[in-house]
């Protein structure tokens, strides 16, 4: 699998304690003026040739946002964010479609290479004519990739091949143009404009993101994947992803995120909405590796994300898997609203905080339908001066007869300057429902380390090994391509945390 | 003692028992053998009154009563005992309290005086001794932290205390080593006599070396497909269930 090996090779060549995705790409960019007001919202909408209904929708969100306050309840601290001191639109300047890779801005190609995107997909992403029709090298299973570069989706690969199955996988701005009815039917139905402060902000200014529609009965033949990249200075990224799995369909979606090293903090406030109809299955995997800031806590991404799924259909299933290693601050709770009878929600999470990173993450499982089941497995690792909080809600409505929930939250502390916190809320109003919650906190035992080292492992390798073991239940949920990458990331994230 | 006629039953809409006819006369021990999924455990649960099994037809008469009309505890009180394949753990419920409550409930139903704690302890100790079970068994929570063998011994102890008219042993031999198997069998054999019948449900012939049945029935596909003497068990051991299937 070239994608994987390539990534690993790069990872292994990395010297200690550095962030390998910290490069900056110098390409020609187009910006909207700094700041946020109604005109900027109109500007973004116009830039994207949006219909009136969507502009109205954005303006309504903006009005709601102006009346809202930033949430104060997460266990994270940061200086006030000046929402007027950022660009809300940044895009690579438009160019004529290149004929071959040679004509593509080499900086852009280099970026893809550094992101670990294989050459074939690079060509497609760079918009090389005809590149999408040739099979991927080595007969490997292709991965359809959408790349979001700052505010806009730059290209999507394998569109035609997916199109044969009736699958839509494109930038959401393209979907607004081509499939306005679908977008209008579902946009904001899972995460309404006024859901929370960051979701409202996103609804007003979202610039791009991916749109996926899997028709009835279709099993998506390849992994769908989006690489998110914040590149430009002083920009926020506000992508919006909408995935609809129609009756009996199946899809696995991956996202990866990186950003350059900068001294300033940058805001990433995405919204992801998933809708699963009868018997549909959505697997959503994230490897989040936004720039975490330096060892002193300077710079880094504020990752304030709203992700939610509605299992509307009977026997539908949504599975969230996340590996959160980056960002200065992470605030996200990928959730499942289990409406359909016998629907299933899953949340598997690994979150690492090292140096000055802070994470407040978890999930909400809302049981409404009969016999709905949910599983939560959360592994938090705190090192350096990191603060790691699991915050989760399990709510069982009186209608959810025979619902089941199982929650397992484990924390691992490395060093005595960090913190690990567990804040579960369990609200049960159904007699026949059963909820179980278990949480443990531990550290890497001296004898475990010694045993590994006595067998010849370095202390850091030993820690990596033990941490990977600690996270195994979650990592095994990731698609192969991501699992290997994620394991390496865990180890890199913990560099400098021992000894 | 026990007469089953045309018994049919469903679990979650799926028919498992498809017309069982079986009679166990007073004082006899019958064995029911059959492959996995033949309906053996379903039969034991239907007879003991567990929820989730819908009886769709037939009748069961036990000691002159309509067994199917009774609640599980009424069946127990009238002398039916099920030795569970997987005895249930009851954390926080002391074994002594449990045994005494069960014994007194059954005694009360029979019109016998209830035993106080001292009287009970005396009876229990006798049984424990006879079964070579240590007294600490009484002090522990019911089946909590018991090994597989200990759980089965506890079942036999309960049977010895409650002195049922009919014992149903549901795969009692599963997970037992030879020593435990012997203790369990001795416990059953000690009760054998004119007032005691048993239905021994098992997959293997092994247990029947220790508890020699008067009759052997083969249960397959929810029906008794063949009946015979103890030699039938030996035949099954040698030739497997496939031979019966072919014959039936």
């Amino acid at each position: 699998m070239p994608a994987v090996t390539e990534t690993i090779d790069t990872v292994q060549s990395v010297t200690e304690g550095t962030y390998k995705w910290g490069f900056e790409t110098e390409i020609e960019m187009e910006f909207a003026p700094k700041g946020l007001n109604e005109d900027i919202v109109r500007f973004i909408s116009k830039k994207k040739n949006e219909p009136q209904w969507l502009l109205d929708w954005r303006l309504k969100a903006f009005a709601i946002w102006q009346k809202m306050e930033e949430p104060r309840w997460p266990a994270v601290t940061y200086p006030p964010i000046d929402y007027q001191d950022a660009y809300y639109y940044a895009a690579p300047a438009n160019k004529v479609k290149p004929k071959s890779l040679d004509e593509v801005d080499p900086e852009l190609l280099r970026t893809y290479a550094k992101l670990g995107i294989p050459l074939k997909e690079q060509a497609i992403l760079a918009g090389v004519e005809g590149a999408g029709d040739v099979p991927a090298e080595g007969g490997r299973m292709p991965i359809a990739v959408d790349a979001v570069f700052d505010s806009v989706s730059v290209a999507t690969s394998y569109k035609e091949r997916l199109g044969k199955e009736g699958i839509i996988f494109c930038a959401i701005s393209e979907a607004v143009e081509k499939y306005p009815d679908l977008v209008r039917q579902y946009l904001g139905t899972v995460v309404p404009q006024g859901d929370n402060f960051y979701a409202a902000l996103n609804s007003a200014v979202f610039t791009d993101g991916s749109f996926v529609y899997i028709p009835k009965g279709v099993r998506c033949p390849m992994e769908l994947s989006t690489y998110f990249r914040i590149n430009a200075k002083s920009t926020g990224q506000f992508e919006r992803t909408l995935i609809i799995a129609d009756e009996g369909s199946t899809v696995s979606y991956l996202e990866g995120c990186t950003a350059p090293m900068r001294d300033e903090n940058q805001l990433h406030a995405a919204v992801v909405e998933l809708v699963a109809l009868d018997d549909a299955r959505i697997k959503y995997s994230t490897v989040q590796n936004w720039y975490p800031g330096d060892a002193e806590g300077k710079g880094g991404i504020y990752n304030f994300v709203t992700k939610r799924a509605q299992c509307r259909g009977k026997r539908s299933k949504v599975s969230w898997t996340q590996v959160e290693t980056g960002s200065a601050i992470t605030w996200k709770y990928p959730s499942c609203v289990l409406l359909g009878d016998d629907s299933v929600g899953e949340f598997y999470s690994v979150a690492i905080t090292n140096n000055r990173q802070q994470a407040d993450t978890g999930t909400k499982m809302i049981h409404v339908g009969k016999r709905t089941t949910s599983t939560i497995v959360s592994k938090g690792i705190s090192a350096g001066r990191g603060q790691n909080t699991y915050r989760g809600l399990v709510r069982v409505a009186p209608t959810a007869s025979n619902a089941r929930n199982f929650t397992q939250c484990d924390s691992l502390l490395i060093g005595d300057q960090c913190g690990a916190h567990t804040v579960p809320y369990i609200e049960n109003r159904c007699m026949t429902a059963k909820t179980e919650h278990e949480a443990t906190t531990s550290r890497i035992a001296e004898d475990q380390l010694f045993y590994c080292r006595q067998r010849g492992l370095s202390e850091e390798d030993a820690v990596g090994l033990i941490v990977n073991g600690f996270c195994r239940e979650v990592l095994k949920e990731l698609p192969m391509e991501f699992a290997v990458e994620a394991q390496k990331l865990l180890q890199i994230s913990l560099e400098g945390s021992v000894g | 003692m026990l007469k089953i006629e045309g018994l049919t039953a469903e679990v979650e809409g799926k028919q498992i028992l498809k017309g069982i006819d079986l009679e166990v006369p007073v004082g006899e021990v019958h064995a029911i053998m059959g492959p996995n999924g033949s309906g053996k455990s379903t039969l034991s649960y239907v007879l003991s009154g567990r929820e989730g099994y819908e009886i769709t037809g037939g009748s069961v008469t036990f000691a002159g009563q309509d067994l199917l009309a009774l609640e599980p505890e009424e069946r127990a009180a009238s002398g039916l005992f099920l030795a569970f394949q997987y005895p249930v753990e009851l954390p926080g419920v002391g074994n002594a309290l449990f045994l005494r409550t069960a014994l007194n409930a059954v005694r009360k139903a029979r019109g016998e005086p209830e035993l106080d704690a001292m009287q009970f302890l005396k009876v229990a100790r006798e049984r424990l001794k006879a079964l070579q079970i240590g007294e600490d068994m009484l002090k522990r929570g019911v089946n909590v932290g018991f090994s597989g063998g200990e759980k089965k011994r506890n079942e036999v102890l309960q049977m010895a205390l409650l002195q049922p008219k009919l014992a149903i042993l549901d795969e009692t031999d599963s997970g037992l080593d030879i020593d435990a198997l012997k203790i369990v069998s001795d416990g059953v054999n000690a009760l054998r006599g004119p007032g005691f019948s048993a239905l021994v449900i098992t997959h293997y012939q092994r247990l029947l070396d220790y508890i020699v049945p008067d009759r052997v029935h083969v249960l397959m596909g929810g029906r008794i497909v063949q009946s015979g003497g103890p030699e039938l068990a030996k035949q099954l051991e040698a030739e497997g269930y496939a031979s019966v299937q072919a014959a039936a």
Binding site: T422, I426, C430 | G49
Partner: protein, 428 residues
């Protein structure tokens, strides 16, 4: 008199009127504490559900009831609950009743707080945090009496019954007893507290406890909350445990209409230990909340918590439990379990177990389960001839008694066992 003032304003209004008549009014440190508490109560008011610590318990029914303060001692002679030991301190409507108490010849000092106030400068209010807990502020503002127990170093105190009876029936009354309990090094004491009131009594019992356990001392504090069905109890305990000491708290919530049992324990010295256990037995219309905050502030301490709730009818149970492990508290061993049995389709249980950990060499775990009676277990009992109601009762009692097993003191354990046994069969 016109409509009775309610809410926080009502209590503040009465404080203004009673200020110069409350015990200790002429003692500057008492007056200062009360004024400070009044300010804290004015600032916080009755907590709403937007306050995180009160997310699941709405105090509006308390705020909306207009209460009188019971100022003059009543000389009624109510029925007393059974005694568990020979020493007994009885409070009626929050006032100490020496005539009903038996406190002679004890190896430790027991006094009425109202009488002992002049000697309590520096001790009264040392642990309670009025700025963070509005009900503790309300208590400090208006306390009229309480028990001051001081056990000298090395003394074995035996069992002390602490009885509280609420009697008001015409107009609801509020009383705010303040109990100070101090154990010297190596001392021991068992307090078995029974709070009750006759059917039909209407009152708010709002006690605050300040508990100091010195090095190597052991305090067992068993609380049987069996208040009158229409009564409110909002209890807040603050305990500080020194090196090698043990605080063993068990709270049984069985009575009352709206009840909160809040315990703050600080393990302040190495090898200190704390057991906080409890059971909540809730019938139709009851709301009970147990909230524990445990600070591991020293290394090598152990804590054990087991809370069980059984809910019937339209009842609501709440458990919030926070374990905070400070950075110095290496080798902490913390365990917390809360379990609920939902026996009615209209009942609701909310749990929020919380870990906040800043030390790396720790072993901390918590668990929470909610479910109904296990069908397998029930069938097993019935298959042995035990009738269904009895089988259910056995399983409910076994479920509850697991929490009692953690109580070390035999007298306290026996009292709790007795209170739990048969409760369910009576209630069902």
């Amino acid at each position: 008199m016109s409509a009775h003032p309610t809410g926080a304003a009502g209590f503040l209004h009465r404080y203004e009127g009673l200020r110069m008549r409350l015990p200790g009014a002429r003692l500057p440190f008492v007056a200062a504490l009360r004024d400070q508490a009044a300010e804290a109560f004015r600032t916080q008011g009755f907590p709403t559900r937007r306050v995180e610590a009160w997310k699941y318990t709405d105090l509006r029914p308390v705020a909306d009831a207009g209460f009188d303060e019971a100022l003059t001692a009543v000389d009624s002679a109510p029925d007393l609950p059974p005694a568990h030991g020979t020493a007994r301190a009885v409070f009626v409507d929050g006032r100490f009743r020496p005539d009903l108490s038996a406190l002679d010849g004890l190896p430790y000092a027991v006094e009425s707080l109202a009488m002992a106030l002049p000697g309590l400068d520096g001790r009264l209010g040392a642990l309670a945090r009025v700025e963070a807990q509005p009900m503790a502020a309300l208590n400090t503002m208006l306390f009229e009496d309480g028990l001051v127990v001081t056990v000298p170093a090395g003394a074995a105190g035996g069992v002390l019954d602490l009885v509280s009876i609420g009697t008001a029936s015409e107009r609801p009354e509020a009383f705010h007893p303040r109990h100070l309990i101090r154990l010297g090094a190596g001392a021991s004491l068992t307090i078995i507290e029974t709070a009750t009131g006759p059917e039909g009594a209407r009152y708010l019992h709002n006690p605050v406890y300040e508990v100091e356990v010195a090095a190597g001392a052991t305090l067992t504090h068993a609380r049987l909350q069996q208040e009158a069905p229409r009564a409110f109890q909002l209890a807040t305990a603050y305990a500080r445990v020194a090196e090698g000491g043990t605080y063993d708290n068990f709270t049984l919530n069985a009575g009352g209409r709206l009840v909160r049992n809040e315990i703050h324990t600080v393990l302040a010295g190495p090898n200190a230990a704390c057991h906080m256990n409890g059971a909540q037995l809730l019938r139709d219309g009851q709301h009970a909340d147990t909230t524990t905050v445990l600070d591991h502030a020293a290394p090598d301490c152990a804590s054990r918590q087991t809370y069980k709730t059984v809910l019937m009818g339209r009842s609501r149970g709440v458990f919030q439990g926070k374990i905070h492990v400070h950075q110095v508290a290496q080798r902490t061993d913390g365990y917390q379990m809360n379990q609920a049995l939902l026996l009615s389709p209209e009942a609701e249980i909310d749990s929020k177990p919380q870990l906040e950990i800043y030390a790396d060499d720790v072993k901390c775990s918590h668990g929470a389960t909610v479910g109904e009676i296990d069908a397998e277990q029930l069938f097993y009992l019935r298959a042995r001839g035990i009738p269904e109601p009895r089988a259910r009762a056995m399983l409910v009692e076994a479920f509850l008694k697991e929490a009692v097993e953690g109580v070390q003191d035999e007298a306290a354990r026996a009292a709790l066992d007795a209170a739990i046994t048969g409760w369910w069969e009576k209630a069902a």
